[in-house]
């Protein structure tokens, strides 16, 4: 490990890996640190991603694809199932990844591109000099090191601390953290090519329960509920156990993972002098779906591109790095987050009866494209009243 790099990336998930890979490809000296001993574990993810979204970053490889999805199902609170098949979209929907292998591949690519990678290495504090971020204090296997950098890219995930240490408030409101548990289950009867979402205040208050296939008879069976609905006796695990007991009584659980998924708005500002926040640390998870892999890779890559420009110009001030913040907000991803935030806020306030009515009406539609946006647009057509209820959001959708 050297004492100075142009870019220091904190965190080896998809955001950090893409930041490191991109920065290294641009010829910068890069150090990526991951506090865990292994990249990609524990998973803390339902592992779903759209095919086209993934292709923007990496060519699909069977080594890290668990299953291909051609459809989806939404189960209303009353048990009614609405199915979405992708025949109209050329069969292209998405994949369920094997994140342990996928994350490792991304970091591997970063390493191949020239980034230095250090696992079991944790950034424990920023190094500040005259109010300016100069690098980070690192801890690894009982050793300490000071590593200087022109810019630090904080990709430290949902439990992000680096931004907070540098004065950026990253606290997630209690009602906007999805308290989540997931079992990897085998020997269960499922449709191996469809992701299933269960909605309802009894099943998953202000969240949803998912069954994402990982094979013919295997799936990620998980749940996320709002932090404000969580408490003793009614935690995410309690809800999931109840569902599994009823739905998959003979299934076998071969892995249990827990996590928190932020469904708040992104941070007000994702840069500071010599600092950029990306991925879950920037709170750029899709607030409606809880999906974060694409957004992490997108912000990670963009941050590195902007960092490279700024390094070339010799200006890493907050003002210079703001290009990153402005660009992701104006992007398709940024707009999608804003729109989906409103939809999420609307949906979580609906009683089960209303959710039933919405799902029943959508199921009668002939969807021409397979996306959340299409779904919402069609929904608005059959429920014009929604336009009023959704307020300002409506304009951005039409």
């Amino acid at each position: 490990m050297k004492s100075k790099y142009e870019v220091l990336v904190v965190g080896g998930g998809p955001a950090g890996a893409l930041a490191a890979r991109t920065a290294a490809e641009k010829g910068l000296s890069v150090c990526l640190v991951e506090k865990r001993p292994a990249i990609g574990a524990p998973v803390r993810c339902a592992e779903g991603i759209g095919k086209e979204a993934l292709a923007e970053f990496i060519a699909p490889d069977p080594c890290w694809i668990s299953a291909e999805m051609t459809g989806a199902g939404i189960i209303a609170p009353d048990g009614f199932e609405m199915t979405l098949e992708s025949s109209l979209a050329g069969g292209k929907v998405g994949y369920i990844l094997d994140r342990k292998v996928f994350d490792r591949e991304l970091v591997w690519q970063a390493a191949d591109a020239g980034a230095e990678v250090y696992v079991k290495t944790r950034a424990s504090a920023p190094i500040m000099h005259e109010g300016r971020l100069k690098g980070a204090q690192l801890e690894y296997c009982g050793n300490s090191a000071k590593v200087m950098a022109d810019v630090v890219i904080a990709a430290d995930g949902v439990e992000s601390k680096f931004g907070k240490w540098c004065g950026i408030d990253t606290t997630v409101p209690v009602r906007e953290i999805m308290s989540s548990v997931q079992y990897v289950m085998t020997d269960i009867d499922i449709n191996p090519h469809a992701t299933i979402f269960y909605l309802g205040n009894e099943v998953a208050p202000e969240g949803y329960l998912w069954v994402f296939p990982k094979g013919k008879r295997a799936a990620n069976v998980g749940i996320g509920i709002s932090g404000r609905k969580s408490g003793k006796g009614h935690r995410a695990k309690d809800y999931l156990d109840r569902f599994v007991k009823q739905k998959f009584p003979h299934g076998k659980t071969i892995e249990c993972i827990v996590g928190g998924v932020s469904v708040c708005r992104p941070l007000e500002c994702t840069v500071a002098d010599h600092l950029m926040l990306v991925g879950d640390a920037a709170r750029v998870v899709d607030p409606l779906t809880g999906g974060g892999i694409y957004n992490a890779m997108y912000t990670g890559r963009l941050a590195a591109e902007v960092a490279a420009d700024c390094i070339a110009k010799g200006d890493l001030s907050k003002k210079a790095l703001m290009v990153y913040d402005q660009e992701w907000r104006a992007s398709k991803m940024g707009k999608s987050i804003e729109r989906n935030y409103h939809i999420k806020e609307y949906l979580i306030k609906q009683p089960d009866e209303k959710l039933n009515a919405i799902i029943h009406s959508v199921s009668k539609l002939d969807l021409k494209e397979f996306s959340t946006l299409t779904l919402i647009k069609e929904l608005l057509k059959v429920n014009p009243k929604l336009l009023v209820e959704l307020g300002a959001l409506a304009a951005s959708i039409r």
Binding site: K35, R36, P37, P42, R44, K120, R122, G157, V158, E159, S160, K161, K164, W165, T170, T171, V172, P173, V174, I177, S179, S180, V181, G227, R228, S230, G231, K232, R235, A236, K237, C256, I257, V258, G259, G260, S262
Partner: protein, 68 residues
């Protein structure tokens, strides 16, 4: 004004055998008093025992205990 740490003789207990070291609690801590160090959750001195983390924990690994 922030309450002084631990003024009410409360403290946060981490049941390490229950904790799934996921970091959900860290993200909601208003004081920045929690940190996930690999498979170990650390509670700093500035913890006010507000209990927000205990509420959101997916497994129920955190508990605010009242000392007598």
């Amino acid at each position: 004004m922030k309450p002084a740490p631990n003024i009410f003789s409360r403290m946060l207990n981490v049941h390490r055998d229950v904790c799934g070291y996921c970091g959900c609690c860290v993200s909601v801590c208003p004081e920045g008093a929690l940190e996930l160090i690999d498979a170990y959750l650390s509670v700093e001195e500035n913890c006010t025992s507000c209990g927000i983390c205990a509420k959101v924990c997916p497994l129920g690994a955190l508990e605010v205990v009242h000392e007598k």
